[in-house]
Amino acid sequence: MKVKIELFGASREFSKNNLIEFNVSNNIKIKDIREEMMKYLDQNFSGNENYKKIVKSSAFCSQDNKIVSDNYKITENEKIGIIPPIGGG
């Protein structure tokens, strides 16, 4: 199934499209998406450690705008947001 990851803050540097799409197996969870993102960074940014730190320290939000845990099950075509550490105002 396809999962879209919408990028915010520092994670926008991961793609010019502000979005990364993964083809993954069914019943995938947020923790699996973290791993997919790590692989993506290995492949596209030579494993940039600063970028990996962003993924490790980020929360994720579901399509209905809830911050979800690593055990959250993602549904097909769901758009997930990656929420890096925040600091506005």
Binding site: I67, P84, I86, G87, G88, G89
Partner: protein, 150 residues
Amino acid sequence: MLHTKIIDIKEKKISLKEAEEFISSSDYGASIYFTGTVRNQNNNKSVIGITYDSHDDLVLKSFKEIYEETEKKLNIQNKAVFIEHAKGYLNLGEISIIIAIACKHRDQAYLLSRYVIEEIKKRSPIWKKEHYTDNQSDWLKGNPIIHEKN
């Protein structure tokens, strides 16, 4: 009474006048305007501007939650709160956030104003990318949002 909005800076600027109109009422005897503006120095670097990014839906949700919880946490029932945050590129001195508060008494107004900005800093998904005089730019390190347990 609550007003919240994310202002896309390409479309309009944040306006203190609108904040004043919203909180103005003879019900309240104390009002406070807090503005955050872009300053020219941070971490020994010369800043020329900041790009603000936000997850709009989550930010507005967090503003509402912060407003609603002040009733119990601060015991302030009767209040007007106006919160607007900018999104996009801001030059030095431009306003990134307005928090306008009106309450019956000044102690409530000071308390509420401080509470709202501190909670926004902790909880609202807003990010800053600073731009420097040497043409470099950096996303500022922030505080992780706490993951839910389940």
